[in-house]
């Protein structure tokens, strides 16, 4: 069976709020996603602080394809497909480290940090000077950066990253620029395999607060302060026309950190003050978000002041239609006192991650949804409801960009995500957002803001290449 665009349009009826579960489990749909969604969208690669020195590399995935991200001698960052041009073997299987070159373990083809083929064993004897090394480098990947976050794109015709993010940068800036000096990612990534389709976490991360009181009843409310009524009353939802989603609160916690000195308290209070000076009071700050398709997290969101000063970032890599791999990073302001960094790093895994008292209960739902869909027939043929809040959206908000819902529980972000998914899945050309007249204006405003408040990640003019000791 070959799915037509019409079939897909029937499965994702975002206008009337219904969804076919077929999109979560169908192999053909998954294969098309790798081409049309993961092959064309901007995908999160790494943060600047994960690869600080020349020769530092970090391995990740774009869609289901392995990718190397490497800091070059001139300080720039390049990304390349982690697959040898001779027989496809991965040329790097460490998660991170520092290298001068990558040697394929199969036949020994050698690539430099930029992915260029530099030598092959017995090259003269066996290729007789006929191996054109300039043509057989690792497949290079377009890379762009926004405030320390590096994204990659397989599609050279895709619009620039800042256009892709669109007005969502309005929200991102508050997480990435809360204090002077930018962010750093703390060492270590929690990685775990979840039986489930990647879209199920994309929509939850993009704004499903509705599940929290039930799914997380044994952690939120029991182990941590939580009031679902407040969440709905003071929460807002954003559905960006570019497919990004956000559920947010606009108050940021400062104040005391239990058991820590006045320096920490002062720093926390200062952070709130600086944030408000920079971005204005009432600016959306904490919540949970998805940047289409597979990057998201929990910026500045926690039940208590100390841990609210960190942002959890997540990426979910598809591993077939019925499985994804979740990666969890923790980021803090570089200027945070070391005492508080140490405290956060020991505390953050308590709530989130594979063993986190909150997050572990999500895995249960995702996995059982997968089981039902994988094995069932009737269960795949019913339709699912995503109508919550339909008809109450504000299409133009005075302050907040994107489509807005003035309540914390709703499926506006989910409808925005699936609408965009459908556009990617059904178009041959790169799907430019055209139906919303305000989008070009959003993009212009985003560019102006980026110009007005640039975050200097590294001063490349004064970059001093370091020689790696262990090359």
């Amino acid at each position: 069976m070959t799915l037509t665009n019409h079939d897909l349009e029937e499965m994702v009826d975002w206008q009337n709020g219904s969804l076919s579960p077929e999109i979560f489990t169908n192999e053909e749909i998954y294969r098309r996603e790798l081409e049309k969604v993961f092959g064309r969208t901007w995908l999160f690669l790494a943060h600047d602080s994960l690869i600080p020195k020349p020769g530092d590399f970090f391995t990740t995935y774009m869609g289901a394809d392995p990718v190397i991200v490497a800091r070059q001698r001139d300080g720039s960052v390049k990304a390349m497909l982690n697959s040898c041009r001779h027989r496809g073997m991965m040329v790097c299987r460490a998660e991170e480290g520092n290298m001068k070159q990558f040697t394929c373990p199969y036949h020994g083809w050698v690539y430099n940090l930029a992915g260029e083929l530099t030598s092959a064993p017995y090259e003269e004897e066996v290729y007789h000077g006929k191996l054109d090394k300039s043509k057989w480098g690792l497949r290079s990947i377009r890379v762009e950066e926004y405030k320390g976050l590096y994204f990659g794109n397989f599609d050279d015709d895709a619009p620039p990253l800042v256009d892709y993010l669109g007005d969502f940068t309005y929200y991102m800036d508050t997480w990435l620029d809360a204090s002077d000096g930018g962010m750093e990612f703390l060492p270590g990534i929690i990685k775990w395999r979840v039986p489930g389709n990647w879209k199920i976490i994309a929509e939850q991360s993009g704004g499903d607060a509705y599940h929290a009181a039930v799914t997380h009843a044994s952690s939120l409310g029991l182990l941590m302060a939580y009031d679902p009524a407040l969440e709905n009353e003071y929460g807002h939802l954003v559905g960006s026309r570019q497919g990004h989603g956000f559920a947010f609160f606009s108050e940021m916690a400062g104040g005391k950190a239990a058991g820590m000195g006045p320096e920490v308290t002062e720093w926390l209070d200062n952070r709130v003050r600086k944030m408000e000076e920079k971005h204005g009071r009432g600016r959306p700050i904490g919540g949970n978000f998805t940047i289409f398709p597979n990057f998201g997290g929990l910026p500045n969101l926690s039940n208590e002041p100390t841990t609210s000063a960190r942002t959890i970032f997540r990426v979910w890599h598809p591993k077939g239609p019925n499985e994804f791999e979740a990666w969890e990073f923790v980021a803090v302001d570089k200027s945070m006192p070391q005492e508080l960094k140490d405290e956060l790093i020991t505390r953050v895994s308590f709530a989130e991650g594979a063993a986190g008292v909150v997050e572990m209960d999500d895995g249960e739902n995702w996995a059982y949804v997968r089981d039902i869909l994988e094995n069932g027939y009737q269960a795949r043929k019913i339709s699912w409801n995503m109508q919550m809040g339909m008809g109450t959206e504000v299409w133009e908000h005075d302050e907040y960009p994107g489509h807005i819902q003035n309540q914390g529980f709703g499926e506006l972000p989910a409808r925005a995500i699936y609408r965009r998914w459908l556009e990617f899945m059904t178009s041959e050309e790169w799907p430019v957002v055209q139906s919303d007249p305000r989008v070009p204006e959003f993009v212009e405003r985003a560019k102006e803001r980026a110009k007005a408040s640039p975050t200097v990640i590294r001063d490349r003019a004064t970059w001093v290449p370091e020689t790696s000791a262990d090359a």
Binding site: P187, R193, V194, G353, A355
Partner: protein, 194 residues
Amino acid sequence: MTLSYEETAVHQDEAFPYIHVSPELQHQVTQFYYHEARLLDEWRWSKWLALFAQDIRYWMPLRRNRLRTRSFDQEIPTRIGMSHMDENHHELSMRVKQLESSTHWSEQPPSRTRHVVSNVWVEQVETNDDGIEELSVRTYFIVYRNRSEVDVDVWAGQRQDVLRRDPETGFKIANRTILLDQNVILSKNLSIPF
């Protein structure tokens, strides 16, 4: 009878330090671990929690895929870094509270588990500043989990414990480091204690 540190014969092999302990001490330690495993597998989590000292650090660090020639020592983090669990007594007691609640869906209904503990090595016997004997003990484990119908996970790893003599329970676990032999956790969560 318990052998003090002085009474134990220390064999200091360069690559592999170990000590001879009396059969009785070996037996006490092994029985303690069997008891602990049974409490876990019978869902008696409060009783299990009572085996931990108030100053416990219960730590499950991440494992990292590093290149051997360069930074193999960093495979297991020695300094502070992100972890699956890094708990003090209060946090551990909250986990138990969660396990005992009726709405902890990853353990409701609870998983059937078998904690199989083996390779019990008493590596060091010392007397702490309060004059109480402390043992460094390494154990290997295999944990099997089945929940609901066909949901199965198997985890293997090593625990490095400090056991402190205790008049009530025989020992209290004063420190626990759990090295799970997975870089990517191959299960939807880690909702059971190790």
